[in-house]
């Protein structure tokens, strides 16, 4: 297709988008959903398997209490009702990523239903309705061999590792979100960001999108104002927060281009490509959804004791939104300042830096200043920049103790980011400490005065501003490692002038 894509502004001027998000979260339990195999990453192929997760005849699954509890806590944090009684269901499909030829999931009786999550988009509150939160199991990993690039097309055979088969998964599904208009991509991103923060605060998952412990499918459709909702597509393989936003946007543009040309949208799965930012067609959904769900006979129903649910609810941690509001007050920040911290993804980093022993002002200065600048330059997430909150606190400690000037601290930070170790170590290794030895400083000052008699005379004569040149000379001999203010005071003192 070589048609020119319409501009985003034209798309949203003409069409109204409806989006929906399905998020899969790998729970951080010790063991799998229905057997005692460990869930840790990195094992050699097929070393985390047993008769249950291999689907061997005669084996019986038993649900993991911790996984059920985590799902209930997620449901409660998302303001859902918890089912008094629900069942697991078999989702039947023949594909070797599940050795049983079915996946145990939940179908018409999810554990949690009808909730909501409040998010903020550009400072405006948006309530996202949650349809359901249910339990299921992850699938194994297939490796396609014989093809050119390890892709499924052209492969002659597949090799399967079942270490991940049976890992507890929770699926969180929103209700359709209409009315977001041009903001739809931002709303999608804000929702996934907030959901990730909620899940992290609950401690139920490590929620790393790049590693697949948080995965997102994005549903998108367009309709003309006043008309029925359009046919939706489901975009998979969306592996970062930024991609969530890009996937919605590019799919809106693509659909608008199809519709504008008089075409129809096919209900299908599309794959998002991180490199190009667009989506390509996957399988067609219409012929693929015959999963023949039925209640899982091998697992008895779950009927959470209301007392247990009440206890779990009472023990929920402070949720991110309230937490942020409290931090904003504690840090004494305006809405705008707080927003810039949020936009930079720096809340937790700043919080941890303060916890490591520095002031809110200093922590904010480093993360939003030098480190944000570097993150922008390299395109990295702030959290992955290479400096830890502890290191930033230590760096500020050295500044506070007068061992580093701000300028020297920035140099040290560069080496911290480069992975050279702690600020104190780098300061020592690279001999970057402020020259505070008065003897050495005085000698440098005297040298500067002797070398610039005319300037020295001016200063003596009352032209205090001329001392700047002498300060510069001293800074040069100390390779910038002296505190300019101290140097200035010392010069004036030696010249017998009041500062």
């Amino acid at each position: 297709m070589t048609t020119t894509l319409p501009a985003y502004d034209e798309v949203v001027a003409r069409y109204e988008p409806v989006i929906g998000l399905e998020t899969h979260v790998e729970l951080g339990t010790n063991t799998k959903m229905f057997c005692g195999c460990p869930t840790d990453f990195g094992g050699a192929p097929n070393t985390r398997v047993c008769p249950v997760c291999l689907g061997l005849p005669g084996s019986l699954p038993v649900a993991n209490r911790a996984a059920v509890e985590a799902t209930i806590r997620i449901g409660l944090a998302l303001n859902c009702s918890i089912a008094q009684w629900c069942r697991f269901a078999r989702k039947n499909y023949y594909y070797p990523d599940m050795p049983k030829n079915y996946q145990i999931s939940q179908y018409d009786e999810p554990l949690c239903v009808d909730g909501y999550l409040d998010v903020e988009v550009n400072g405006e509150p948006v309530r996202i309705s949650i349809e359901r939160v249910h339990m299921e199991e992850d699938t194994g990993k297939t490796l396609h061999v014989g093809g050119a690039t390890g892709r499924i097309h052209g492969a002659t055979e597949s090799l399967v590792d079942y270490n991940r088969a049976g890992i507890p998964l929770v699926e969180i599904v929103t209700k359709p979100i209409p009315g977001a208009g041009a903001m739809a991509p931002e709303v999608a991103r804000a929702y996934v960001t907030e959901l990730r923060d909620v899940l992290r605060s609950l401690g139920v998952s490590d929620v790393r999108m790049e590693e697949g412990s948080l995965r997102c499918d994005v549903n998108t459709s367009l309709n003309l104002p006043g008309e029925q909702w359009g046919t939706r597509t489901e975009t998979k393989n969306v592996n970062s927060l930024r991609s969530v936003e890009r996937a919605v946007r590019s799919e809106m543009i693509r659909q608008a281009s199809v519709l504008a040309a008089g075409g129809r949208i096919t209900q299908e799965t599309r794959h998002f490509h991180e490199d190009t930012g667009d989506t390509t067609s996957g399988r067609s959904k219409e012929t693929a959804t015959d999963y023949r769900y039925f209640p899982e006979p091998d697992l008895v129903p779950i009927a959470p004791d209301p007392t247990w649910v009440a206890e779990l609810k009472a023990a929920l941690p402070e949720l991110p939104r309230l937490h942020r509001r409290r931090l904003q007050q504690e840090w004494g920040l305006s809405d705008l300042d707080m927003q810039s911290i949020l936009n930079a993804g720096a809340v937790e980093l700043i919080e941890a830096t303060i916890a490591a022993g520095t002031t809110p002002t200093a922590a904010r200065k480093w993360w939003l200043g030098e480190l944000s600048r570097r993150a922008n330059e390299t395109g990295a997430e702030l959290a992955d920049i290479g400096a830890t909150p502890e290191q930033v606190a230590e760096l500020q400690g050295l500044v506070d103790a007068g061992k580093l000037t701000d300028k020297l601290a920035r140099t040290v930070l560069e080496h911290v980011v480069a992975g050279e170790g702690s600020p104190a170590k780098i300061m020592a290794d690279r001999n970057l400490e402020v020259v505070s030895d008065t003897g050495a400083l005085t000698a440098a000052v005297d040298e500067a005065i002797a070398a610039n008699p005319a300037i020295a005379d001016k200063v003596r004569g009352g032209k205090v501003a001329a001392a700047g040149a002498l300060v510069g000379a001293v800074m040069k001999t100390t390779r910038g490692q002296a505190d300019a203010k101290t140097v200035r005071e010392l010069i004036l003192e030696r010249l017998g002038v009041q500062g």
């Binding site: 399905e22 899969h24 339990t29 010790n30 063991t31 057997c35 005692g36 195999c37 460990p38 050699a44 192929p45 097929n46 070393t47 985390r48 398997v49 047993c50 008769p51 291999l54 038993v62 649900a63 993991n64 209490r65 911790a66 059920v68 009684w85 069942r87 989702k91 499909y93 023949y94 594909y95 070797p96 599940m98 050795p99 996946q103 999931s105 699938t139 297939t142 490796l143 396609h144 014989g146 499924i152 492969a155 002659t156 055979e157 597949s158 090799l159 399967v160 590792d161 079942y162 998979k236 399988r283 015959d290 023949r292 006979p297 697992l299 008895v300 129903p301 779950i302 009927a303 004791d305």
Partner: protein, 101 residues
């Protein structure tokens, strides 16, 4: 009217990855029809006050503590596999097939 059509049986066979001949299709459709008719007959006498039964035992909340148990060795795991390579189960190529989400 038959409770299940030939096309539905063919569709189910395809979903189950069963290679069924035209002849078998006719036979199976007839047999499945008898079974479904019998079930439908039972359905007629079902009283409205009896809830559908999915489990034969009246149990709920059979849960397991989140404690690691022993696994099979890869050799044991692969011992029943028709084929294996690189410590993985080897299966025929998969093309254009459905994947659970």
């Amino acid at each position: 009217m038959a409770a299940i059509s030939r096309e539905e049986v063919a569709h189910l066979a395809r979903l189950s990855r069963l290679a069924v001949t035209e002849e078998e299709l006719a036979t199976l459709a007839g047999q499945l029809d008898v079974i479904l008719q019998a079930v439908a007959q039972v359905g007629e006498v079902t009283a409205a006050d009896i809830p559908p039964t999915s489990h034969s035992v009246p149990l709920t909340n059979v849960l397991r503590d989140d404690v690691v148990a022993s696994c099979l060795t890869p050799e044991e795991a692969l011992s029943g596999a028709p084929d294996a390579a690189e410590q993985r189960f080897r299966v025929p190529r998969i093309l254009d097939e459905d994947v659970a989400s």
